[in-house]
Symmetry: C2
Subunit: 461 residues, 2 copies
């Protein structure tokens, strides 16, 4: 048993949020430790945003090759889906290795490897070693939800945590869940030649709430994978395969990938020992401004806070939690904290799906004008063979202010940034129409949607 450690602040979890929080606490001159049970490397780099992008890139390359071969077999010597999958995994290993190394570089001898649990308001136990601190940042991340019923599938059950450890891809996959991750991974696998059957209880994929964007997504991606939406999927292990059933339909697949959402890693921490108030589901009750749990000395950041489980938000939350913890340690009120950014969610489905600012289901439709633009009327979309592009811009009927947007478009990730920045600045339909739009560009779809909104605003005056 090692000797106890006493510090100003302890950060639990060395992912994106935790590492940011640790660096900020140190920058403020506080003593701190960074605790992690390993493996080091962020969720994003190890099993999240980076490997999914590498897999999507591989899928894009193979699908493009198939399109150019027009049904002919690829010649010997050409790239294979196996090559591309290996390259994607190699890229993943490289980037994950970089983040692990960066963690060690930043934390140095203040990195404590082990599993933490609270033993009192000011103490955590890390594998038998006691760490005393006056404030804590909990940034323990999240893990895939895997219902107990799926355990019967044994090693034929995959999650995004295990998928990237596969040397070779299965011939067919049942995708349980068609949220952002399910759709991205389903498309990546499908484009690498894997037959994909996907199901979700929701009637629209990828977290979409705008019905027209949702319909376009089903139309566009429905020919790349079988989609069973709005009804449950049952899995039954058979001798040679897994049988999927949904409604009256059945399918046989080699493996199942559970993409049913992610759950914050907070249960094993004994947070109640630190005086953290828990809700009925056992989740900490937080002040969304300072990310503080009740009046305890515990601040939560990143996926563990369950507010906006996205990498760029985890950076902000790590910073907010660290600054709020420093204010708490200094006996100061939680005043000046970094502001949150305009919500921005992107599914890299190519054509991408994005939701910016206020999502459709949070709009007061009577007070909203929706300007729309179609790829079929956009020259660049036509050159790219992306006539199915659809951009929908939500504006306040009263003052023309941009509220948000929903879109499905090739290069949509970039339109989403443009629109998110515009929402954050409080731009209006008219102020945005004064901006430059190069020709021929996908950005001209934003211009068309704004013109459509402008006509409606004029008509409603």
């Amino acid at each position: 048993m090692s000797s106890p450690i006493t510090v100003d602040a302890a950060v639990i979890g060395a992912g994106t949020a935790g590492l940011t929080a640790f660096s900020e606490l140190r920058r403020q001159g506080l003593s701190a430790v960074l605790i992690d049970h390993g493996p080091l490397g962020t969720t994003c780099a190890r099993v999240g945003c980076m490997p999914s992008k590498a897999a999507l890139h591989a899928g894009h390359q193979w699908a493009s090759l198939q399109a150019m071969l027009k049904g002919a077999a690829a010649p010997a010597g050409a790239a294979t889906p196996g090559d591309l999958w290996r390259h994607a995994r190699m890229t993943r290993d490289l980037l994950a290795g970089n983040t692990a190394k960066r963690t060690r570089d930043v934390a140095g001898d203040r990195l404590v490897m082990g599993t933490a649990r609270f033993t009192g308001p000011g103490t955590v136990d890390v594998d038998g070693r006691s760490i005393r601190a006056r404030a804590f940042v909990v940034a323990t991340g999240s893990r895939p939800v895997v219902p107990q019923a799926l355990a019967a599938l044994g090693d034929r059950l995959l999650t995004t945590d295990s998928l990237f450890d596969l040397d070779t891809l299965p011939g067919s996959v049942g995708m349980l869940g068609l949220g952002a991750i399910g759709l991205e991974m389903g498309l990546a696998l499908s484009r690498l030649g894997v037959r994909v059957v996907a199901g979700d209880m929701k009637s629209l994929p990828a977290g979409i709430t705008d019905p027209r964007i949702g319909a376009r997504a089903i139309e566009r991606f429905g020919n790349e994978m079988t989609m069973w939406l709005g009804r449950p999927v049952e899995t039954m292990p058979r001798q040679q395969a897994i049988e999927l059933r949904s409604g009256g339909e059945t399918a046989q697949v080699d493996a199942v990938l559970a993409a049913l959402g992610r759950r914050p890693n907070v249960e094993g921490l004994d947070l109640q020992m630190a005086g953290v108030p828990l809700d009925a589901r056992g989740q900490p009750v937080l002040d969304a401004h300072a990310l503080r749990a009740g009046s305890s000395a515990v601040f939560l950041a990143g996926d563990a806070s369950a507010i906006r489980p996205l990498m760029h938000e985890a950076v902000d939350e790590g910073l907010i939690a660290a600054r709020a913890a420093a204010q708490f340690l200094g006996g100061r009120p939680h005043g000046d904290l970094p502001p949150r950014r305009t919500p921005l969610a992107i599914v890299f489905s190519d054509p991408d799906i994005a939701t910016v600012g206020q999502a459709y289901d949070t709009l007061d439709l009577d007070r909203t004008v929706i300007g729309s633009a179609e790829g079929a009327a956009n020259g660049r979309s036509r050159v790219m063979g992306a006539e199915g592009n659809l951009v929908r811009i939500y504006a306040d009927r009263g003052n023309g202010r941009l509220l948000g947007a929903g879109l499905l478009a090739a290069r949509g990730e970039h339109l989403a940034h443009l629109l998110a920045w515009a929402v954050q600045r409080g731009e209006t339909v008219e102020s945005l129409l004064a901006m430059p739009y190069y020709h021929p560009s996908i950005e001209e779809m934003v211009q068309s949607a704004l013109k459509d909104a402008s006509r409606q605003l004029a008509a409603s005056r």
Copy 2:
């Protein structure tokens, strides 16, 4: 000989600027005619931005296929460069046909087909028919510059006007001029398997003035074509080929494409008959605000004005010229006219080259901070194999305000829009750092460049 026509305003040239001007004059309740010698369809759609984008798309597809084949020959049945070139031409014909049809729809019986020249301050002659008007918008576009010395090449001399009429591509092309058009077409042809030898008197390609962007462009594109920069190229017709000479180097090519810039179509108009002041080179002297030539009744718009020969600027100039003409007709001063947008120039070279706001050569470098970001440090660039991406952001050393940017990057066209909008709004380095940047995105390179600029601004305080 037809009967004379008398109208409030005559628009000469039915391209992008002319059609916009005509529509605006009509919208203001003025009588107007639209004169064009044909063929109808805008420069952009017929021989400019659209066909070049279609050819670049084709080139991208073929180059991607080659990369995936890793040296193996494409199997029978696969797409060929010839197929892709034909498809690009078909897309061009479709889009050009659309613009021609739109011109006829908009102008109806007010479209006068024929060649116009001024015969007095209020009269033009159109192939023998006299048209009297109290104001004129000249929007006659531009044409490729072709030095007389090249005439000896006969039908082996191409311009962007004739290139898209070719059924099959030559095996090799000498590209005279490596401005935006020369680089785009050189890369499109090279990626379609044409051997390209390109030369320009300037030492940097594509109109770049930022030396680091220029060096990166030469490094990146120099392995796709031979580039002779900073020295003249001579062409000598031989029996079977054309010989190119530059410095001590020579090359044989099948055809030469002149991409030496474009010249406004103003000479044949007898503008001096309308009281238009001409400069020493025979170009009209304009008021850049109202686009009016001296105190004459003539307003110039689009490529003919030689201000910013870009399609999206032609739309604005058409509108400005029409409104200024209407003010003139109403005896009103040239007051309230649409403002110009932030300069934005994009070369779709993939990785794209873009110049936003103030170009490097117009900066006061002592008063400027340049923030830089490299693709090698950007996760998404690495996933895309675009480690050579480079973003340079120019900010005012005094107040941190964004002045402009230069970049070479995959998806650079989208970063360019984001930055151009930011310049137009008067954003600063700090205000932009508060915007959302999704992970992993190319937009994070903008964030990195801004952080670099922010560090320099802090250090210089």
